[in-house]
């Protein structure tokens, strides 16, 4: 079997090994490729930058489960760091039961990096509430009625950050990080029904779905996958796991492109030979 035929019938496990190597090598030997910021990411950054410090809080909805942690946690941390640095109060919530531990973990990680910040005043964790759309409508009607206590059971009335907070009027923006279509519900309820700005961070797989909402202004900005997170890290000048992961992503993308190109060359070469052989075969038949 010649090379091109082998390539066409290549065992997919060989591709898996190549992808594994392409991911692992840049993590061991970093290429440090510079990250350039795209417009959807810059728009989210600008929108958060325009929120006055020590004023209205933002809601950060951590709506992902353990499976998408590697992709979505870096962007959650980057946006949280931006908010903490700008002294924008942060309310962390989650609509998924499996997101509760992850939301708390992200909040505590960033809070520990800002020793001046205090729980209940600068940030708060409201925990998980079932019935996502009901919760979103509930926030619009009465925040403290929807969340009578924080995620640790402390009454909301005792938390400084929630004093004077009634509904979306008192929220600067909702930021949703998700691997599902839950951001569409935030658009539907928080933005369409109550006029609150909504920004989103989604997995790369879901990013192309969110573009129509970005163009219509229903989303103020969009972070798509690890590259979105890396760009945000670049903007806040705080390189993290996303920036490190981008080298690996670059190499894997190039590997896939090379594989596709080789696959196509193999397809055309073998087709040409096959066609020539067929013509020759027909000729032979004709002559016999």
């Amino acid at each position: 079997m010649n090379f091109w035929r082998f390539l066409l019938k290549m065992d997919r496990r060989i591709i898996f090994v190549l992808v594994g190597l392409a991911v692992a090598t840049p993590l061991v030997v970093p290429l440090n490729l510079p990250v350039r910021v795209t417009e959807p990411v810059r728009r989210l950054y600008r929108a958060i930058n325009e929120i006055p410090s020590n004023s209205k809080p933002v809601i950060i909805s951590v709506d992902y489960d353990p499976s998408t942690v590697p992709e979505l946690r870096p962007m959650t941390l980057a946006v949280l760091r931006h908010c903490f640095r700008r002294k924008i109060p942060v309310i962390v919530i989650t609509m998924l039961p499996a997101g509760a531990g992850l939301a708390r973990d992200a909040m505590e990680t960033v809070a520990s990096e800002f020793p001046g910040s205090s729980y209940g005043k600068d940030f708060v964790y409201m925990g998980y509430k079932p019935g996502a759309s009901l919760v979103m409508v509930g926030i619009g009607q009465d925040f403290q009625g929807t969340y009578p206590a924080d995620g640790f059971g402390k009454p909301s009335a005792e938390l400084d950050i929630l004093k004077g907070l009634h509904n979306y009027d008192d929220i600067a923006m909702v930021l949703d990080f998700t691997g599902s279509s839950i951001y569409e519900s935030w658009i539907m309820f928080a933005y369409q029904k109550y006029g609150c700005k909504v920004g989103a961070g989604v997995t790369a797989v879901m990013a192309s779905d969110a573009y129509p909402y970005l163009n219509t202004g229903q989303l103020v900005g969009l972070l798509g996958g690890l590259s979105g997170a890396a760009e945000y890290e670049q903007l806040i000048n705080w390189p993290g796991n996303a920036t490190i992961g981008m080298d690996a992503q670059s190499v894997v993308h190039i590997l896939i492109i090379v594989l596709i190109l080789l696959g196509n060359i193999a397809y055309f070469v073998t087709r040409k030979k096959h066609g020539a052989a067929q013509v020759a075969g027909q000729g032979q038949k004709g002559s016999s």
Binding site: R12, P52, S55, K56, D65, S67, T68, A98, Q141, D142, K163, G164, H166, N167, D169, D170, G179, S180, S181, T203, V205, M206, S208, D209
Partner: protein, 400 residues
């Protein structure tokens, strides 16, 4: 004047000047806390539109000291009274930078209310002029959705018209949908190979229209499978979908006249967690090696993992979803894919029931209408004529 006298005078003047400067500084430092912030102005109160009453909307111009003013405004307090002369009670507090809010705190309908917005800083406050009276009312129709209602009526009328035409026996043409044509053939492979067929109805709830469409297709598949005496495995992500799927598959076997062949344990619940579900279904595909895999319903990031595992087992695969982001994956890894609305058309296509076919026709006409609107809008706006666009505001303008 002697030198000593001149020196004394100089020292005295210095002391006096220094005292004046210090006094001036002290005055400057102590003056602001005593000066209250500028008030919020232009307070407008009105009944919140398009609601079921019990709500008043307030809007005002920010205090001159909010954002970059000389004073640091901290918040605005909303006060309410039933009389313009008070007493005013505090209803809520909103943060600086806020210029509108709604009062929904025990607002009685058809009662006069007066409002005041009080600008507050750390030590003092300034009330705005009193605004009112205002009454909250119940609105029996949400005028903001008038356009939606008109288009809903138009669409419903179109659907009903074509359904009635179909009822009268008119033949309606439906284009070929390859994925659905292949369904019988794909399911028919299973008995030939002595293997089961696998049907995954997506990973969403029954309230998702894609899941309902999937259940409709499952009904037909169950019937075919029963005809061929094949096993049908249906792993479920949602318990409610599972109960519906059990019912539908049982009915399918009954319709085929083989109720005894139905095995309830083949239509089962796995987990409501995305990737554990994928692991379980992948396991089934690798162990049971179904001849046919059908992935029909709502799918997310797991679509490619399912479809690729299925492809590696050599099964014939048909997918169908309205999750746009997952379509490319299914197209790449499956033999046939139902794209978006083809999924909803499936039950009409498969059953050829005139009523269902009629609705497809109505759907197409509505689509033509929308394409027409988009095209005319595009052309007229590009030639600088906004008349067509403003047509859509007309009903709102008239009825407001």
């Amino acid at each position: 004047m002697s030198f000593a006298g001149a020196r004394l005078l100089h020292i005295s003047l210095c002391v006096l000047a220094g005292s004046l400067v210090l006094c001036g500084q002290a005055l400057c430092q102590s003056a602001p806390p005593d000066t209250p912030p500028s008030p919020a102005t232009d307070l407008v109160v009105k009944d919140t539109p398009d609601d079921d009453g019990g709500s008043v909307t307030l809007s005002w111009s920010l205090s001159a000291d909010d954002k970059g003013g000389a004073k640091d405004v901290l918040s605005y307090e909303i006060r309410r009274s039933k009389s313009p002369d008070g007493p005013f009670t505090t209803i809520k507090k909103v943060l600086k930078g806020t210029s509108s809010t709604t009062d929904e705190k025990k607002v009685e309908n058809n009662v006069d209310y007066y409002y005041q917005v009080v600008t507050k800083d750390a030590s003092s406050e300034t009330p705005s002029a009193v605004a009112g009276p205002v009454r909250a009312h119940v609105q029996w129709f949400n005028l903001g959705r008038l356009n939606t209602l008109l288009i809903t009526i138009l669409y419903t009328a179109l659907l009903l018209y074509f359904i009635s035409r179909a009822k009268k026996g008119e033949k309606l043409f439906v284009r070929r949908i390859a994925g659905l044509d292949a369904l019988d053939e794909a399911v028919g492979c299973a008995p030939e190979m002595g293997k089961p067929a696998l049907y995954v109805p997506g990973i969403s709830t029954i309230s998702d229209v894609a899941t309902i469409a999937s259940v409709n297709i499952l009904s037909g598949v169950a019937r075919t499978v029963a005809d061929y005496d094949t096993r049908l495995i249906v792993p479920n992500f949602d318990p409610i979908v599972m109960t519906v799927a059990q019912e539908v598959v049982r009915e399918g076997y009954m319709a085929a006249g083989k109720p005894e062949a139905y095995r309830e344990e083949d239509v089962f619940y796995v987990t409501s967690s995305q990737f554990p579900f994928v692991a379980a279904v992948d396991g089934i595909m690798v162990r049971e090696r179904p001849a046919t895999n059908l992935f029909i319903g709502m799918f997310f990031a797991e679509s490619l993992i399912l479809a690729e595992t299925g492809a590696s087992t050599g099964a014939i695969q048909i997918a169908g979803t309205d999750a746009i982001a997952q379509l490319p994956f299914f197209i790449a890894a499956c033999d046939y894919t139902l794209i978006g609305e083809e999924l909803y058309a499936a039950s009409a296509y498969l059953s050829r029931a005139p009523l269902l076919l009629g609705s497809l026709k109505g759907q197409d006409w509505m689509k033509m209408f929308l394409i027409g609107c988009i095209f005319i809008g595009l052309v007229t706006l590009n030639v600088g004529f906004a008349g067509f666009k403003s047509l859509f505001d007309l009903p709102l303008t008239i009825f407001r």
